[in-house]
Assembly symmetry: C2
Homo-oligomer: 414 residues x 2
DNA sequence: AGATTTAATACGCATAGCGGATAAATACAA
DNA sequence: TTGTATTTATCCGCTATGCGTATTAAATCT
């Protein structure tokens, strides 16, 4: 039970101030006071402390000379050099690493196109460790300057415990990846569901800026679901991130009715491969060009391919419609690599959602399709770590990370 | 944006103290201090204020003379007479009203077996108004002593706005039932999904005491879903309570795949009625004895009836399995009137859940079947209102009800 | 240059929670 | 019976917080 003391009070308000500065770029104290509804006095006190700790910096000049009349407002912004963090994204066939500054600007990124799925966890940890060290070094930073690292990966992740319960990446279960990497790198490493990272990124920088409720559905090799609910990342009991692929979309009968068997790239590809067997396309699948081939054939009018994409879209639409019924989010962001952009997939998806969402919720949810750059994962991972550094006091996001009053901030903290 | 000031601090801590007193019966200040992790000094100050406002009272004597040695601890408990509230539950064929005290003990209850579904909203409001006045009068209380009223009803309810978006009770949509009754009765009336009431009741008094995550599924004329997540009632964006019956459990194809078409008593009965047409049982359905007949026939081995109950259980199991995938709750409470207790329904339900919950979540959720008394609705409605009176400051439960610092407490608030 | 206007801060106040000292109320022991 | 030990509850002083008012700072306008 969290007891409310003056310290918590200050933590809450400081977080609000930090959040206002992060969201509204260079911003004056008066504006912060308006946004946060804190008194100018309090804002002044808090920003003074933040300036003292060098978490924020005043903007030199060139301040907007607009209002004209009185004393000009001093604009404040995050100090990009206040801290640096590293974001890592693990996909079955690729490791992406990004080093960012305190504003979540990517300083340096690194992509390793390696198939890591079904590798033993220690091997993966080796690769991640090397990747992180390389990426940090490329950014001309010593490891000591890194204030935190976040690793995103598909599957069921228990962030609080730093444990990956199950993932297409790992053959093992209950991999304590967070603690392992923390020991290896000497920096606090948190792990989270990959979709949660991009959900936070969309919330901070993307299409859902300022939106307190929305869903993110990622369609990649496997399926991911991120939920922002009441301004917070949604997690199940014990902080478990749900695995969207495990949702049932069809009666169990033949072949399993889980979403992952219908709408993931893996399932679609294996279905197409089976359908095209003996037609001379084996090489394409072997080389990882299966999805491109599928989309190409569909565009050429191949009914089997169109049908496969359509059933995938319908199955996903079924699942999303149920989520809309539960969460009533005003926005749903669907994204992925290639398939998610195809009209043969998105069309049936949209139609299914429109048909299945209950009448009372019709038109509340806007469905947005989006293609992500590699960078967004890194920014999301950065955001996840920065959220803690900014001092979110009530976060259900993670455990109370036993750290000093000002976090793992590098440099002299006064 | 809520600004954190000393007042909020006190509100939070006062709520924690009230909550400890409510949960752990007569309790001493020291124990409160232990449970809340507040300093004894603070607990003393807060309890002094609560005593001053007569929200709590010291227990006279007969204190447990156990520890023996030092100064005996003074036990504190809620003052049952600090306030009185009324809970109302609307079902298609019945209105239940209960007057309770500050401890959510039912003082007087009243059941009106009236078919109200499809009556115009003003008529229903008339009936509710009369019922409330009657029940309050029976409890020998003047209306002025009632601090709040909560009405639970099936369907999609937007508690914050006091509006019922859609309900099997109302033929209209967007019924502003809360404001209407508030005007009629001169007492603050809130409305909520009926399942939310019983969810809160289970959390406060029932099988889920102290459990921060669980699901409640009610199987009555229609289906209801209540979710307690992270210790708070779960609501969709805008505070909308989802309607479980709108969840899809089968592909849309023929006849609609919504859960309400498979597993509600209404759907099961209509299916049975169709199956038995011409077999001389019409009277039973006309008189509302359809469910009893169905269960009786199933018990006698009628395969059609057993099959109907089984598909209902399987469909509900499908939906619950998906919820478990999302929320990972340690407990699921299934309840209702008659059908929910039948092994022909619960058996397939359990089997389906066991089969469909992903392996990684197997055995996390315990499925409990429970039959509710009429009283639980009233206690739940009372709890919902008392929650506000106790001063929950962060509640996503409702809007900030513009009221004095001590709520709608009757009597002299010093 | 002085008036005006707006931004930011200094000062004092009220309230919060907490720690140590103190009072209260009982059981135990001589 | 009286004194001591022990546990509970409160009193007092301390620090931290947010806020309101008055004050200073820094620009524009006249």
């Amino acid at each position: 039970m969290k007891t409310a003391d003056p310290e918590l009070m200050r933590a809450i308000n400081r977080f609000h101030v930090m959040d206002a500065i992060r969201r509204f770029g260079p911003i004056s104290r008066v504006e912060i006071s308006q946004f946060t509804e804190l008194s100018p006095t309090t804002v002044s006190a808090i920003t003074a402390a933040l300036l003292d700790d060098r978490l924020i910096i005043p903007i030199q000049e060139g301040a907007l000379r607009d209002a004209g009349r009185g004393r000009p407002r001093v604009m404040l912004r995050l100090n990009p050099e206040a801290a640096f963090v590293v974001g890592v994204k693990l996909a079955p066939d690729q490791i992406t690493v990004a080093t960012t500054n305190f504003c979540a600007d990517v300083l340096q990124s690194l992509t390793l196109p390696i198939r890591i799925d079904r590798q033993p966890a220690p091997v993966i940890a080796d690769l991640v460790e090397d990747g992180v060290r390389q990426c940090v070094s490329d950014a001309r930073l010593p490891m000591a300057k890194i204030a935190g690292i976040c690793v995103g990966l598909p599957g069921i992740v228990e962030r609080a415990a730093g444990v990956c319960r199950q993932s297409p990446i790992f053959s093992e279960r209950d991999v304590n990846f967070g603690a392992d990497l923390t020991k290896r790198l000497g920096v606090a490493v948190s792990i989270d569901s990959d979709v949660n990272l991009v959900t936070l990124a969309e919330h901070w920088f993307g299409q859902a800026r300022g939106l307190n409720d929305f869903l993110v559905v990622s369609v990649e090799h496997s399926l991911g679901l991120g939920i922002l609910h009441n301004g917070e990342l949604f997690r199940g009991a014990n902080g478990l991130s749900p695995d969207f692929g495990d949702v049932m979309v069809r009666p169990p009968g033949s072949g399993g009715g889980r979403l992952s068997a219908w709408a993931s790239e893996a399932s679609v590809l294996s279905e197409v491969e089976a359908a095209l067997r003996g037609s001379g396309h084996e090489a394409a699948f072997r080389d990882g060009r299966g999805m491109a081939l599928l989309l190409q054939l569909a565009a050429a009018g191949d009914q089997r391919c169109i049908g496969i994409l359509a059933s995938a879209g319908e199955a996903l639409g079924f699942a999303i419609a149920n989520l809309i019924t539960l969460f009533a989010p005003p926005k749903v962001i669907v994204a992925g690599r290639a398939m998610a952009a195809s009209a043969f997939f998105i069309g049936p998806l949209r139609e299914t959602i429109a048909a299945l969402v209950p009448a009372s919720l019709a038109d509340v949810a806007e469905i947005v399709v989006r293609e992500w750059s590699d960078g967004i994962w890194g920014r999301g991972a950065a955001a996840m770590t920065l959220r803690d550094l900014y001092g979110a006091p009530w976060g259900t996001t993670g455990p109370a990370p036993n750290r000093g009053p000002l976090g793992l901030i590098t440099g002299d903290s006064h």
